[in-house]
């Protein structure tokens, strides 16, 4: 290919073509099916993940209108939210029925809807079953440069592989099933640049909690985030998935990280990823995706990695973060009167007192799992802390819920399950579990949980449950001491 030097003024179109673009702009532009004058566009959707909770009404809508699924081959269905994490098959190999009739009905609906509309379905007892946001990347269904949606706000996770991925409501699920497109307005772009590297014992979860603390839960509203800086280049794909996953907690529907050699190495050989010559062509295309030098973001936030400590939440919003070495804040310390009021309510709900050291807060429940932190690296980090240790007397319930059957098998091959059970944890079947109170895994009212999930909303883990968000290593440390603990005290960090 040769390039002709242009010695005449560029037309507007050509200037548009040559303008440096962000990763988001490149993916958006490649998916415009129809552009409206008012700035909204019909955007093609390359991948659609479907689970049992947000899909039954969408399939019902299709049926009522006599519509089909346009591209079942681009759609993948799996149950996760409702499934109990206790064994699913008895000693004789029979399916164990689900006790809750409503959950059972919802799960049966997906099991019937997927084949009825020609959609590939991974069932509750298949070894590949897991949380949608764990199995998408794991199966190679998620690819860089694609648009990916799911009726779940944590779809943002897939941005870690350089996919434009975001959560949608059930009407949009129906729209995608019927048309493989969505009518969207272009979002603004937001750069979160992290300078420097994380200190010893500090994890990607600490980083994203810290970021949400800085930008607030509405900081990214209307924006697509791109996470930039050396810390992300050095981070594993599992770590990147944790960061992108919680973009929605900062108000952004999507959070991207540029695809690189680590992304390609992670995806190569995955069951649904391209093979042979197709793989080479895909990689060549993916290499063109990273944000161009000189591209302009609508908003930019700089974070110093050195400021990030092992982080926990104290309140009922993911922005309510504090280093574990810190104290419960005083409501009066917030500038805004409504935040002061919200902080008072949060402290009341959480049963905490201003000025109390976070490291004095005792926990009765430990949850390691969720689409944020249930991948192999998360389990390794927790097991490393638990190895040779026992959970504290005050801890009544401690569970580890692998993100998928494949993560579970890998962990068992590495002997991690033995470390967890020896320390007093229960080793469960894959699913969303205690991240949200819609299956049997719930935190009792008034009790506290050190949780690796993503939301500490009022009642999120069950009515009256008190959630403290943190990393897997920090949750393991809390299990060992029975209170919120700086994991670095239990680690040989040097």
């Amino acid at each position: 290919m040769s390039f002709r030097r242009l010695n005449y003024p560029l037309t507007t179109d050509a200037m548009e073509q040559n303008k440096p673009k962000t990763l988001y702009e490149k993916i958006w532009d490649a998916h415009v099916v129809d552009q409206r004058d008012d700035g909204t566009a019909l955007i093609y959707i390359d991948r659609h993940l479907v689970h049992e909770v947000t899909s039954p009404q969408a399939f019902e809508g299709l049926r009522k209108a006599g519509r089909n699924v346009r591209r079942p081959d681009l759609t993948l269905a799996v149950p996760d939210h409702n499934l109990p994490t206790t064994p699913r098959i008895d000693a004789d190999g029979n399916k164990i029925p689900i006790a809750d009739p409503q959950s059972a009905a919802q799960l049966e609906a997906l099991e019937a809807n997927a084949p009825a509309f020609g959609i590939k379905y991974i069932g509750a007892s298949d070894k590949e079953q897991g949380i949608v946001h764990v199995i998408g990347p794991e199966q190679g269904f998620t690819l860089p440069g694609t648009t990916l949606v799911c009726g779940d706000s944590h779809t943002a996770a897939h941005g870690a592989l350089g996919a434009l991925a975001f959560g949608i409501g059930t009407s949009e699920v129906e729209h995608v099933l019927a048309t493989q497109t969505l009518q969207l307005s272009r979002s603004k772009s937001m750069e979160i640049r992290v300078e420097g590297l994380l200190g010893p014992g500090i994890s990607p979860k600490d980083l994203i909690l810290h970021i949400i603390g800085v930008i607030g839960t509405a900081g990214g509203t209307g924006h697509v985030i791109e996470y930039r800086g050396e810390v992300f280049e050095q981070m594993s794909i599992e770590g990147r998935l944790t960061v992108s996953n919680m973009s929605i907690e900062g108000g952004a529907r999507a959070g991207l990280i540029a695809p690189d050699e680590k992304t390609f190495a992670y995806l190569k050989g995955r069951p649904m990823a391209p093979k042979g010559a197709d793989w080479d062509a895909a990689v060549a295309y993916w290499k063109t995706l990273p944000t161009d030098e000189g591209a302009i973001f609508d908003k930019s936030v700089t974070i110093q990695a050195a400021d990030v400590a092992p982080t926990v939440t104290w309140g009922t919003s993911p922005e309510d973060v504090v280093p574990v070495t810190g104290h419960v804040p005083a409501p009066d310390s917030f500038a805004d009167a409504s935040k002061q009021d919200a902080a008072r309510k949060s402290l009341d709900y959480m049963g905490l007192t201003s000025g109390q050291a976070m490291s004095d807060v005792a926990v009765e429940n430990i949850f390691i799992g969720s689409c944020t932190n249930s991948r192999i690296e998360d389990l390794r980090a927790a097991a490393q802390v638990l190895d040779g240790r026992k959970i504290a007397d005050g801890v009544k319930w401690a569970i580890v819920v692998p993100g998928s059957g494949l993560v579970k098998a890998q962990a068992e091959a590495e002997g991690l399950d033995k470390i967890f059970t020896a320390s007093g944890f229960e080793w469960r079947e894959p699913g969303c579990s205690a991240c949200l109170g819609m299956n049997p895994d719930k935190v009792p009212p008034g009790e506290r949980c050190a949780s690796t999930s993503n939301r500490n909303f009022v009642g999120r883990q069950g009515p009256g449950a008190r959630t403290h968000l943190m990393s897997p290593a920090m949750a393991a440390a809390a299990a060992v001491t029975g209170k919120l603990t700086d994991v670095r005290e239990l680690m040989d960090v040097n």
Binding site: H31, V33, R36, D38, T40, L42, Y44, D46, R47, V53, Q57, A65, R67, R70, D73, L74, D100, Q102, S103, Q106, K120, G140, F141, T146, G151, D152, S153, G167, I168, G169, T170, S171, E174, H175, A178, T179, T181, Q183, T221, G222, I248, G251, P271, M272, A273, P274, K275, D278, W279, A282, S317, S338, K339, A342, G437, M438, R455, F457, V458, G459
Partner: protein
């Protein structure tokens, strides 16, 4: 979708900021396979508190909800919009909304009207005693006291709401363009389809 041109009625002066989707409708209520009947579960944790604004007889039958910043943050559950609709709410007025919630509201013909905080403060006052009117044609919110606040909405959404258009039908009318895109991708990016296992 039913056309929405005007919403007129009493408004619940709720006013709370950062109302998350789990507060609007908790996960226990998401096990349904229907869109109906969720009003009963709406704002459950707030309604458990004595003297809450939702159960105040003054606001029985209200069709408008007034809230604070960042309404509907959190989950993508459309059940939040269905629950509001089921409790008789036709419009929510707040300084800002989460992206997914405002989209879900729109798809259900539920108006998500963004107005500045000072307008919200005034409407919270008026709501205690008098009705509020939202007019989609002029894109304005008015009170019996000559208050008039105009709001913005993208023209496509405004038209869809006022005419009650079915968005899937609108998109299906563009199936040629969708097919053209698919053909383009199929030839330029052969690797694009998931490998069938």
């Amino acid at each position: 979708m039913k056309p929405v041109r005007k919403v007129e009625g009493r408004a619940i002066p709720f006013g709370q900021k950062n109302v998350d989707t789990d507060v609007i409708i908790s996960a226990e209520w998401l096990k349904t396979v229907s869109r109906d009947g969720l009003g009963e579960g709406a704002f459950e944790s707030i309604r458990a508190q004595e003297g809450n604004v939702f159960d105040d007889p003054e606001y029985a039958g209200a069709s408008i909800l007034i809230a604070g910043d960042n309404f509907g943050c959190g989950s993508s559950r459309e059940h939040a919009a269905w629950a509001l609709d089921d409790m008789g709410i036709k419009a929510i007025i707040a300084p800002s909304f989460s992206d997914i919630f405002s989209s879900n509201a729109f798809k259900n013909g539920l108006l998500a009207i963004a107005l500045p905080q000072d307008a919200i403060d005034r409407l919270m006052e008026v709501a205690k005693t008098d009705p509020i009117t939202i007019d989609m044609e002029s894109m304005s919110v008015t009170t019996p006291f000559q208050d008039r606040f105009t709001f913005e909405m993208d023209p496509f959404r405004q038209q869809c709401l006022m005419d009650g258009l079915d968005e899937i039908d609108l998109t299906m009318a563009k199936s040629d363009a969708i097919e053209a895109h698919e053909n383009r991708i199929d030839s330029a990016q052969v690797w694009h389809k998931p490998v069938a296992a």
